[in-house]
Symmetry: C2
Subunit: 346 residues, 2 copies
DNA sequence: CTGTTAGCGCATTCAC
DNA sequence: GTGAATGCGCTAACAG
C-alpha cells in the first residue's frame, strides 16, 4: 500500500523492541531471546519489511552482492556458468551483478577502475578472464575475494581444468584411431600466450608424441562462435590441398559447427571426417559429438562455493585455493577410424 | 596500496574544497566552477577515489543499478537480450543485477518478496515474465520503474512483438507454399493462456483462414530447448501416421533441432519437410533456416532505453509505454513447396 | 558558486 | 539479553 519503504524503526516500534534487538534478531547476528526473535519476525512480516541493502552495506561493510565478470553471455560455456553460479550464490542470499565485458576495452577498463572498487560487491567471480598485471594488482590491492574459473592466476583462487592435458586427450583419441591429418580449430592466443598450458599446446604435444609433424595449414586460430566454426571447417574441408581426416575443435560449439559444415559439404561424419570437441555441451548427444567433458556445472558450483567460503573467512585467512577438476572423454558417434578412400571433397 | 577505501573527505582536503563541492563536481549534479571541477577530478584521480555506491545510494535514493530478471540464460533469445541490454545500461553508468529465476518457484518468490523491495535496484527489466496479479501489485506498489520485454502487461511499460501475427505470418508462409499438414512445436501455455495473443493462436488462426483443420496430433506443446525440439521433431517425423510436410517451431532453436532431427532420419530439408522458426537466431544462416526475425537486439536496446528514460523522469511522469516492433519474414532454404512423393520416413 | 549541517537506514559498539 | 548512542560515506537541503 504505502509506496514508502518500511524502516527497521517501524518494525521495532510495532514489536515493542529496540532497533538494535530487531536488527540482531532479523540478521541472526548476535544473541537474541526466542521471544524477541519471534516478535521481530512477526512485526517484519506484517509490515512487509525488508532491510535496505544499501544501508546495511554501508553500516556493516558487507553488501551481500558478488560480481560475475564474463567476456560473453551468448555462449554455452558462459551462460551455463552464469546459471549455475548464480543459483548457488542466490541460495546463500547473494545478489549477482553481471559485468559483461562485451569485448570492448573501454567497458573492461570501466569495470576494473570503477565498478569493482566502489565496494558494491563483496567478492568476484571471473570467468575465463585474462588479467594484465595492473588489473591483478588492482584486485589484490582492494582485497576483494576473487575466484577465477578457467584461468590460472597467481594470488587469486581458481577453479579450472588442465587445458593442456584435455586437448592432448582429445587429440590422442583421434591419433589412437589412426588419424594423422588432424586439423585444429582453436582460440586466438592472448598476450602472454603459453603453449604449455593451452589447448593448442596440448594438441601440438599429442601430435609430436605420436611423431606426427604439425601442419600449420591445419591449425586455424580465431575466436570462434558456432557460426564461425562452421565457416572455418567449411574452408578446411573444401580445400583439396588440405584433406584433414579429423578435426579437433577447442570447444563443442565449434565442433558442432564443424559437423554441420561437413554435412553441408556432403561429407559423412564420422566416415569421411571425425570431429571431437571440448566441453560437454548439452547438444552433444543430439549431434553424436565425441567430446572431453569438462563438467562445467561442477566447475561453476565449486567456484561459487569457494567464493562463498572466502566471503565467510576472515580477511586474513584467505589463502588462494587452486582446484583442478578431472575431465572425461565421452566417445559418441562423431569419431571413428579414418577412411582410406574418402571422396575428394566438394 | 592502502586497502582501505578513499573517502570523499580525503579528496576534499587534498583539493582544498569542501566535501559538498567535491561531491557536486564529481557527480556532475549542481553547478560548480571550472576550477573546482578540475581540482576535484585531479585529487580524486591521484587518490584513486571512487565513490561508494552504497553510501551514495543511501543518501540519494538512487542506486545506479537495475535488475534484469530472466527465466533462463542459456537460450539464445535471453542471452542476447542480456548482452545487449547490459551494454546499453552500462553505457549510462548502470550496473546490472541478474535475477535468474531458474524455473524454481522458490527463487521466484524470493526475488519478488525480497530482492526487489530492498531498494537495491532503481528499475527493472523483466524478460518474458508472466507475473501473477499479486506480483504485479507488488511491483506497482513499490513504484519501481519496470519495463517488460516480450509480454503485454497492464500498468508497466513493454517492448514486444505481435506474437499472434508473427506466428500467423510463419504459418501462412508454409500454407502459401502449399503445405497443409503443418506441425507446430510450441510453448506450453501459462496460467492465463490467451490464444488471441500467442503464437499457438496465430498458428491456429492461419490454418483456419486457409480452411485447414487443425490436427491436434500435430500440435506439440512443451518448454523446449534445442535438444527437446530435436526429440519432439524426431517423434513427429518418424510416426508414419502423422506425416507432416512442414514444421513451424515457435523458436529458432527448436527449428534448428527439428532440422537436425530430420537430417538424422534421412529426410532432406526442405525437400521432404519444410521448417520455419521465429527469432532471427545467429545460427539461422548456417542452417539455412527460414524464420521470422523479431529483431531481438533492437527489442533489448529499446527496452533498455525506455527504462533509462523512466529512470530519468520524475516519478509522476512515468506513463507506461507500449512499443511493438515489426517482424520480418526471412526466407532461406529450409522451406519449399511440399513434395508429393515423400519417402515414408524411417 | 561554495561551505555547513543534517540525515539516508542500518549494524554495531558500549553500557546496562 | 537488551537498549541507547555512534557512525558507515555520501548527497541534499540550507545558508552564505
Amino acid at each position: 500500500m504505502s509506496s514508502k519503504a518500511v524502516t527497521i524503526k517501524e518494525v521495532a516500534e510495532r514489536a515493542g523492541l529496540s532497533v538494535a534487538t530487531v536488527s540482531r534478531a532479523l540478521s541472526g547476528r548476535g544473541h537474541v531471546s526466542e521471544t524477541a526473535r519471534t516478535l521481530s519476525a512477526q512485526a517484519a512480516r506484517e509490515l512487509g519489511y525488508v532491510a535496505s541493502y544499501n544501508a546495511a552495506s554501508l553500516a556493516s561493510g558487507r553488501s551481500k552482492n558478488v560480481g560475475l565478470v564474463v567476456p560473453w553471455v551468448n555462449r554455452w560455456f558462459f551462460s551455463t556458468v552464469i546459471e549455475t553460479a548464480s543459483t548457488v550464490l542466490a541460495a546463500d542470499g547473494y545478489d549477482v551483478t553481471l559485468y559483461y565485458l562485451g569485448g570492448g576495452k573501454r567497458e573492461r577498463d570501466l569495470v576494473f577502475s570503477d565498478f569493482l572498487l566502489r565496494k558494491r560487491v563483496d567478492g568476484l567471480l571471473a570467468v575465463s578472464l585474462e588479467l594484465d598485471d595492473a588489473e591483478r594488482a588492482d584486485l589484490l590491492r582492494v582485497g576483494t575475494p576473487v575466484v577465477c574459473i578457467g584461468g590460472v592466476m597467481p594470488g587469486v583462487s581458481t577453479v579450472s581444468i588442465d587445458d593442456f592435458a584435455t586437448a592432448r586427450l582429445a587429440t590422442a583419441h583421434l591419433i589412437a584411431l589412426g588419424h594423422e591429418r588432424i586439423a585444429h580449430l582453436g582460440w586466438e592466443g592472448p598476450g602472454d600466450f603459453d603453449l604449455a598450458t593451452t589447448r593448442q599446446g596440448g594438441y601440438a604435444h599429442a601430435l609430436s608424441e605420436a611423431g606426427i609433424a604439425l601442419a600449420p595449414e591445419l591449425l586455424v586460430l580465431g575466436d570462434f562462435t558456432m557460426a564461425e566454426g562452421y565457416a572455418a571447417a567449411k574452408r578446411l574441408l573444401s580445400d583439396p590441398r588440405l584433406c584433414p581426416t579429423a578435426i579437433f575443435a577447442a570447444s563443442d560449439e565449434m565442433a558442432i559447427g564443424a559437423i554441420t559444415a561437413a554435412r553441408d559439404l556432403g561429407l559423412d561424419v564420422p566416415r569421411d571426417v571425425s570431429v571431437v570437441g571440448i566441453d560437454g555441451h548439452d547438444l552433444g548427444p543430439v549431434f553424436g559429438l565425441t567430446t572431453v567433458d569438462q563438467h562445467v556445472r561442477e566447475q561453476a558450483t565449486q567456484a561459487a562455493a569457494l567464493l562463498l567460503g572466502l566471503l565467510d573467512a576472515e580477511p586474513g585467512e584467505r589463502e588462494p585455493v587452486h582446484a583442478e577438476l578431472e575431465v572425461d572423454l565421452v566417445v559418441r558417434t562423431s569419431t571413428m577410424v579414418p577412411n582410406a578412400d574418402r571422396p575428394s571433397s566438394r
